[in-house]
Symmetry: C2
Subunit: 253 residues, 2 copies
């Protein structure tokens, strides 16, 4: 058996998220079907992050094990021949047998794209959250700065379970303007369920003047989802990259 | 009667181009339908550029005349309420009665997006021309540099008519790398039919080593479409901006 690491880009618009479910199209199931068609047997892929319905990926990572003797290049070519146009395999590399896309991950970079201008952007529909009134970017940056470091992120977790470890080490939480877009970049060792979307929804409320950046420490200390803002829509979120070794804090892409 | 200048953004994917035609959806007809619903009478819009099927716009300009007494802001709000999600009105401003979106235009900026990486990009499908083998960007830049100045662009015109004036003043023809994208920006006082797509198709052949940048002067001098390369696909092209006064050469956006 050989273990492969697979890097995927996808447009999440027409999928009910990463994880296999009954009767709805998912990324995992679509990738597994492509692999099965190539390997002529059922294969399971493990994803680094379980992206929600509508969330996109520029660099999702998945792993699979197989005894089908194809080279990395052959797997890549065959996968892209079998995958639909809204999913693409960017690379396939052989890895050590103890590699696990989720458990071996050391860090992930997510970006959230907010479009902030008076009129909607047809070319960015399903690609960014459109907010028509001007946001106070500096207040949002101040609020984001409170999120770095190793902290308890319970206030930004949807539907936590008792066993969850709420500690995450947020190495980067930065906002930058890029034309009419506000790109929010978050790099951490791990993320809780809907954590980025909960953070962005809260930052937007700061940008709208509904909350103060100075309230962020109290909000974190509350350790209760109700203390934070609404959950931002899925279609503005991108899983950009997953790292498997300790690397320096990346530049946002 | 009042004359208005309208700036439009659109995703051209699902339209048979700007110009009204029988039995196919066009941008012009869709905008005219929205205006008619607001004005309660048939109105005609004139577009600055007749974009082809599949071509996008970030700043198409159109003009219309009406005696319906709405303010600029009321027209803008009403238009965006009536237009579909893939077309957006960015601004409506009252202009002098002799304003004509096409004849008054002094310059236009087009961009063409090439994606140059080994695998397809799901998030850029219908947004960029994907070319999988590495292009020689520096050779393409050299070739593009031959295109500036006031010249006869007959070699890049599709289906010319006898009356056409083939002279265009190309003030900018620049390529830049932006991640995996190669963005080609062209600013001129006027453009011939499918001129940008013919230029880009030719530049790509230079980037692929099929033509030499040094051949560009001879190619222009031939004044024959057959001398140039193939026409690049429509879905990588964007009408970015139309200017109505003499302005300095713009920075690419």
């Amino acid at each position: 058996m050989t273990t492969f690491k697979l890097v995927l880009e996808y447009d999440g618009t027409h999928y009910a998220g990463w994880q296999r479910q009954l009767n709805v199209p998912t990324i995992q199931e679509t990738v597994e079907s492509a692999l099965a068609a190539i390997a002529q047997t059922r294969l399971t892929v493990v994803g680094a992050g379980r992206t929600d319905a509508g969330v996109h990926a520029l660099g999702q990572v998945a792993s699979f094990r197989t005894d089908r003797g194809l080279s990395e290049r052959e797997w890549l070519r065959a996968l892209n021949a079998h995958l639909p146009a809204d999913i693409s395999a960017l690379s396939v590399v052989q890895v050590a047998d103890d590699f696990h896309a989720r458990y071996s991950a050391k860090g992930k970079l997510y970006e959230y794209h907010l479009l902030n201008r008076p009129e909607r952007a047809p070319l960015l529909r399903e690609r960014a959250w459109m907010l028509y009134k001007p946001l106070d970017l500096y207040a949002m940056m101040d609020a984001a700065a409170c999120l770095t470091g190793r902290q308890d992120f319970s206030s930004f977790e949807t539907a936590p379970t008792e066993n969850d470890n709420p500690q995450c080490h947020m190495q980067q939480a930065e906002l930058r303007r890029q034309g009419d877009l506000i790109v929010c970049a978050f790099y951490a060792d791990r993320f809780l369920k809907q954590m980025v979307r909960s953070i962005v929804g809260t930052l937007v409320e700061v940008g709208q003047g509904k909350r103060s950046a100075a309230d962020m420490p109290r909000l974190l200390a509350a350790r209760a989802r109700a203390a934070a803002g609404r959950t931002a829509p899925a279609h503005g979120l991108y899983l950009v990259r997953v790292d498997y070794q300790d690397t320096p804090i990346p530049n946002p892409t």
